[in-house]
Amino acid sequence: MSEFLDVLGSTALYATAIRLALPILFAALGEVFAERAGLVNVGLEGMMLMGAFAGVIGAHYTGNPWLGALIGMAAAVVIAAIQAGVSINLSGDQIVVGIALNLAVLGVTSFLARAIWEGGDVPKVDGFSAFSMPLLSGIPGLGPILFKQSALIYVAIAAAVLSWWVLTRTSWGLRLRACGEDPRSADSLGIPVFAYRWKAMIICGALAGLGGVFLSLGQLFTFSDNMSGGRGFIALAVVIIARWSPLRALGAAFLFGAFEAFALRVQVTDIDVPAELMLALPYVVTLLVYAGVVGRSRPPKSLGREYSRG
């Protein structure tokens, strides 16, 4: 028991938690934009996977993780554009399209990894390593948790705050939300619903792609098949748990990062818990927390409904 407490008390746990929370946070922020505009984007998982893959490709060929990140985001945006085109303009079923895209991305990334590298053995690349902020990282307790991280965590926090501000404090955000609540009324007021939904989906793709980039370039420094491992779906749950708020998503994503970190850290102690069962923990927690909060969250009114002007 005391060993469990040791794990819970270690700063390394929380530092790891933040690192593991980042991909989910980025994806969840993207999904908040999409869902606030009325689009359920089940293709989140595929967008993350594409981001993770293209990020590694980019970092490998340019030698620069930041350029890799841009390339990863761009590739995920392409997937987002397909999702947007079929679900917004063609009124295809949003969920069906998302499911199809997830499968397609899984196939395409696995194939390309093998096409480029023998046996799909993707080499290590330069990624976003942790660096110590001068002075701040010396703060006892908090320092190693918050200020010995890769630069992307500051981008993530900034993105959460910025998303909150854009969605709730600007007229652009107000109109975007109108498209998710009542697109017909929004349309009658002259708001271009399709354009707003497109923009929301593109933002979603870029953020989900960045989340995927962090999975590959911020954690493993390489790519492996299906490395997103359901995190896109965890992010979907995080959005509901966070009640479609970017700031609450920050907290919810950290919670999941913490459980994943806990599962990992327990394995390096003497505590005798099967590794496989610990790896199931984040998914169990997702179910439990989701079950605990769902009654209290209200989705955008027209979420998941296609809109046509006719």
């Binding site: 089940v42 079929v86 063609l90 009124s91 295809g92 079923d93 969920i95 069906v96 499911i99 199809a100 997830n102 499968l103 397609a104 899984l106 196939g107 395409v108 696995s110 194939f111 990894a113 093998r114 096409a115 799909g120 491992g229 359901g230 779906f233 965890i234 979907l236 749950a237 509901i240 099967p274 496989e276 069962l277 790896l279 199931a280 998914y283 169990v284 997702t286 179910l287 989701y290 079950a291 769902v294 009654g295 409904r305 296609e306 046509s308 006719g310």
Partner: protein, 357 residues
């Protein structure tokens, strides 16, 4: 009203569309094959040969069709109610787990009884997993899209833990799998060509058809699919129906796991399913959520998968390219069916909106 998923498509158009998808996939596939330096004509010939060229090839194709079609039928039932069962993968693993436990522990029983119990156990295991998602949906209102995916991972890690620990084959040199099932528990192959699983498939499709088209529950399922508000107004027990379809999907997913275990795999491992749960989703989509459509789509994909994987070594097709070929085909099938999805959903959206006013 998800007419797109319920429509009785014109048979001629179904064939035309499928042919178009095949041609499209062959063209795109050709690019991948050429980039691998594969002899195209030989590769396509070999794929055809390995899919229907001999009774051995037909047997293998049918074996490939079994799990995806069974899962697909479960997905189809849920589709008709407007519910997405993405949990096929977890249901397969839980079904196979239950089946392997029963078969290994009761190996003293006579073969036919053992098979029957194994298949039944599979349905219980899968049904439990589908039922959990159903319960979470109907009691608490959790989206099955998220819960079924989470349950997939949980089932996978449970199986992974068990096959590396408590039920690992002691003589398996540390590989993550169970002992092999006794020979008498293996599903028979009739006439060297028709695996027992294929008969199971026809029966399951028939049962699903009767359920959807000839029973009261079928009416409830389809009314729920036509719109929750309308269903509630008509006195439909929406929650109950939502639970039922996920339970039924779980039963079929579990059966898929058990049938593959007893019919082909012989033992449970944590690489048991190569994504059958998700291919099943595609199968149901292509089959438009009907029993017959799903059966036809499942057989089609089964024959194609088997043909491609059989041709791999002879024609020198890399595994990843083989995966891509199938993926491209499914993608094309979806593309050629998009217009129907679009047209029907538009009309559906209107009738719904009017109904709500």
């Amino acid at each position: 009203m998800r007419r797109a998923l319920t429509g009785r498509g014109d048979t001629v158009m179904l064939i035309v569309r499928t042919a178009a998808a095949l041609v499209g996939a062959a063209l795109v596939g050709a690019i991948f094959l050429l980039s691998d330096g594969v002899d195209l004509i030989f590769a396509f010939e070999e794929i055809l040969n390995q899919s229907v060229g001999s009774s051995f090839a037909i047997k293998n194709s049918l074996i490939d069709a079994v799990p995806i079609t069974l899962v697909g039928l479960g997905v189809a039932v849920a589709f008709r109610a407007g519910i997405f069962n993405l949990g096929g993968e977890g249901q397969i693993y839980m079904g196979a787990l239950a089946a392997v436990l029963v078969v290994l522990n009761l190996s003293g029983l006579p073969g036919p009884l053992l098979i029957l119990l194994g298949l039944a156990a599979g349905m219980v295991g899968g049904g439990l997993w589908g039922g959990i998602a159903g319960g979470l949906r109907s009691r608490l209102g959790l989206s099955e899209i998220i819960t079924t995916i989470m349950l997939n991972f949980i089932a996978f890690w449970i199986v992974s833990y068990l096959v590396r620990g408590p039920i690992q084959d002691p003589g398996g040199a540390g590989y993550p799998y169970t002992e092999e099932i006794p020979a008498k528990a293996e599903l028979p192959v009739i006439g060297g060509m028709i695996p027992f699983g294929a008969i199971l498939l026809i029966v399951a499709a028939a049962v699903v058809w009767v359920l959807l088209e000839r029973t009261r529950m079928g009416i409830s399922i389809k009314s729920l699919g036509a719109g929750e508000a309308a269903g509630r107004f008509a006195g439909l027990k929406v929650e109950r129906t939502g639970f039922n379809v996920l339970l039924i999907a779980g039963l079929l997913g579990g059966l898929a796991g058990a049938a593959s275990l007893l019919g082909n795999e012989g033992r449970l491992s944590d690489f048991f399913s190569p994504g059958w749960g998700f291919i099943g989703v595609m199968t149901a989509l292509i089959g438009r959520g009907t029993a017959v459509g799903t059966l036809v789509a499942g057989l089609m994909i089964g024959f194609l998968t088997s043909g491609i994987s059989g041709a791999q070594s002879a024609a020198g097709i890399p595994t990843a390219t083989a995966q891509i070929l199938l993926g491209v085909f499914v993608l094309f099938l979806i593309i050629v069916n998009t217009d129907i999805v679009v047209r029907h959903l538009r009309r559906a959206a209107f009738s719904l909106r009017r109904a709500e006013r």
